[in-house]
């Protein structure tokens, strides 16, 4: 074995989530009435553009969730000895970024350090100047002249590769459409380019194109430069940003995993049984709701920290400790955020339980459990889904704030919050160290925006109250009808 797989707690839950997701996809595909709203989601241009970007982030996150210990040393005679350090597949892919540390800050694509240092010149005199970076732009002989053309050339090459990849993708899509419609590939492409298809392929391909070009340019430059600069300890900022993606995704998804059982069980229970069960559940969530969320989280995290710190023997490696703290943070966030969904579900269940089909089931003497699972649960699932997708982005944003306050993820973990927290202290410096902050905000914005766009599309498709108005199409249809011979 070249490596020993390591499954952290959050990894296990992430995989569980992926399996559950796959199961849901299979189930939905088999049921027409469930497929229908998803088809509406798929027909939303902004939603699908968001989904493309989201898919990229999920890919990064999943790669970063495949943890292992590499085999240490080449000596196989003594059996397998594995490194203590836990790494992920993403780490391996980004080794060139990870293992080229600089001394301290350097600007994006820079070839020299941010701060002047005193260096000894060959003639023995000392001079204060910006030292060259150990890795970034180290291949340049005369950087003042070569830097600009070198960066340009590499960026162009990267963009070209990205474009080629995009053309391949676009051709594949056109071929797929051509086969589905039974027309020529050129006509399919024209229909696609004009946006005449039900599926918003134009928006999808445009987003994909932008994404491919960006990734390829970054990849082409990353070999020789620090694309987004380096941090205070000289770590590559691009690497940090990519590592943060997993934390954001884990918090955004696992929290809902914790929250859902509470919200669904208690919400439906309160609404269905009414009476004293309702009273108790209402009391429970009013009480929890009345404590300001940040304070409850802070108190819980403080207490957990005491617990971990006083029991060092239970958590052998720092990665495991940080991971458990992350999981615990998800749990706490889940405990504080189930009340909203619970209240929604309670209200909806109160409405549904009065509907005639529930009464019909009661007239058959169907048991409560069966009524809840067969009649009520399927009819509130759209609310659950909308809540989950809407909650995701606010959780990603909350992580940054909590980490800033000091009750977020473990300080040793790279997350958007810890990146911002570390970088904001440097705001006062002159010239400003802006790249760390900008990268964290930029990545976070891209992730949250795409999630929000996707969530909007899901809400529009599933919420019966939201009617999507398209006033422009009717006039087109009328014109088309007028032109056609009567």
């Amino acid at each position: 074995m070249l490596f020993q797989p390591v499954i952290l707690w959050t990894d296990a839950l992430v995989f569980l989530l992926l399996v559950a997701l796959a199961g849901v996809v299979v189930y939905v595909r088999r049921h027409e009435h469930l497929r229908q709203p998803w088809r509406r989601v798929a027909h939303s241009a902004t939603g699908m553009a968001g989904a493309v970007v989201l898919a990229f982030f999920v890919l990064v996150g999943v790669l970063d969730s495949l943890h292992y210990r590499a085999r240490a040393g080449g000596d196989s005679s003594r059996g397998n000895v594995y490194a203590v350090e836990i790494t992920s597949v993403l780490d391996a892919l980004l080794r060139s970024l990870k293992e080229r540390p600089e001394k301290t800050y350097s600007a994006p694509l820079g070839y020299q350090l941010y701060a002047r240092e005193t260096v000894e010149l060959p003639d023995g005199r000392q001079s204060r100047e910006y030292p060259r970076l150990r890795h970034g732009g180290a291949h340049l002989k005369a950087p003042q002249d070569e830097w600009r053309p070198d960066v340009g050339r590499r960026a162009l090459a990267g963009a070209a590769i990205g474009f080629v990849l995009w053309v391949v993708a676009a051709t594949l899509v056109s071929a797929h459409i051509a086969r589905a419609t039974g027309e020529g590939i050129d006509r399919a492409w024209r229909a696609l380019a004009r946006g005449e298809l039900d599926m918003p392929w134009r928006a999808i391909l445009a987003t994909l194109g932008a994404l491919l070009v960006l990734v390829c340019v970054a990849a082409a430059l990353a070999g020789k430069y620090h694309v987004l600069g380096t941090s205070k300890v000289g770590e590559d900022v691009l690497y940090q940003a990519l590592k943060s993606v997993r934390i954001a995704l884990v918090i955004g998804t696992l929290t809902t995993l914790v929250m859902l059982p509470f919200a669904i069980l208690l919400g439906i229970g309160a609404g269905y049984f009414k009476g004293w069960a309702d009273d108790i559940i209402q009391y429970l969530y009013t009480t929890l709701n009345s404590i300001p969320a940040v304070l409850l989280i802070a108190a819980a995290v403080l207490m957990m920290q005491v617990y971990i710190d006083t029991r060092p023997q239970a958590f052998p490696t720092s990665v495991e400790r940080a991971d458990l703290r992350l999981l615990f943070l998800c749990a706490i966030l889940g405990v504080t955020s189930w009340t909203g969904l619970c209240r929604l579900l309670r209200g909806e269940t109160l409405k549904i339980r009065e509907l005639d089909y529930i009464q019909a089931a009661q007239a058959f003497g169907v048991s409560h459990l069966r009524i809840i699972t067969r009649h009520i649960l399927p009819n509130v699932m759209h609310i659950v889904l909308i809540a989950v997708v809407m909650e995701f982005s606010s959780l990603v944003l909350a992580e940054a704030v909590l980490s800033y306050v000091g009750v977020g993820v473990d300080p040793s973990m790279i997350s958007f919050g810890t990146m911002i927290n570390a970088a904001r202290l440097e705001m006062a410096r002159d010239p400003m160290v802006w790249w760390s902050l900008a990268s964290a905000f930029g990545f976070m914005f891209a992730l949250v925006l795409s999630a929000n766009l996707f969530a909007d599309a899901v809400r529009d498709a599933f919420d019966p109250r939201v009617a999507v108005i398209k006033p422009f199409r009717l006039r087109l249809a009328a014109l088309a009808a007028a032109k056609a011979p009567a």
Partner: protein, 325 residues
Amino acid sequence: MIAYIVRRVLYALPILIGVNLITFALFFVVNTPDDMARMQLGAKRVTPQAIERWKVERGYDKPLLWNSGASGLEQLTDTIFYDKSVRLFVFDFGNADDGRDIAHEILTRMGPSLAIALPVFLVGIAVNITFALMMAFFRASYLDLWGVVVCVAMMSISGLFYIIGGQYLVSKLWHLVPISGFAGGPDALKFVVLPVLIGVVGGIGAGARWYRTIFLEEIGKDYVRTARAKGMRESVVLFRHVLKNGLIPILTGAVVVLPSLFLGSLLMESFFGIPGLGSYTIDAIQAQDFAVVRSMVFLGAVLYIIGLLLTDISYTLVDPRVRLA
């Protein structure tokens, strides 16, 4: 009305007791005071004597619930539960780790907190309603479409970015107002402007979009069609009919957070160096001052419950169906 309020206050009592029990469990049962002492003292200085001294200083040396060593009523009262939790009900918060009286701190820090939070709240609602009405007025046009996209984009930006970006732009680049700090009296204005501006701008995305859906829902109702059938101008329809109905959920939804404004904003106050309750809380969290955190949890719960009470009352004021039925 008074009987109603009394009833609601009585109803709030069990909730406060619940909050109290939760905090007690969190702070004293999950971890023993010994654990807390060990953690705060740091690994090097942990000796049994140091722990004991730390506990005595803070009054954590008593039994949790039942003092079998004491006599009479003291068996109940001479305990951590009575000292630290029951006394909260009379707003006796005790002392912080630095020895200062927490209740006094809270009273002096409420003012600055309110100076930021209240304008953010009021101006924010006004601005959000304005934007939402505009989008509702131009519904299903490109203006509305792009308005929603801008809202979604704005709500996708981290609150930290609004603060850091605003500070950089307004204070550092343009030198319009001081970057942080606070002063009482008329001087307060120049310190307050930027945080308020940032707070309002940061809230537009989510707020305006939410209000827009409320207005659109109202616009779809039959009485709006009736108003139009009477020949009313679209502005009259929007301002007299739609706004009045839409304000009911908006106002009652806003009232619940009104008392909590006293707590201030954690982020804003810590970034702008405002000596309010928000920065007090954040400092306490970072210094792991359990007494202050516990007090703030209780205070927050009290204010929230007052908010719930105000919500009920505001319903009866705003909605004739509740007032007169």
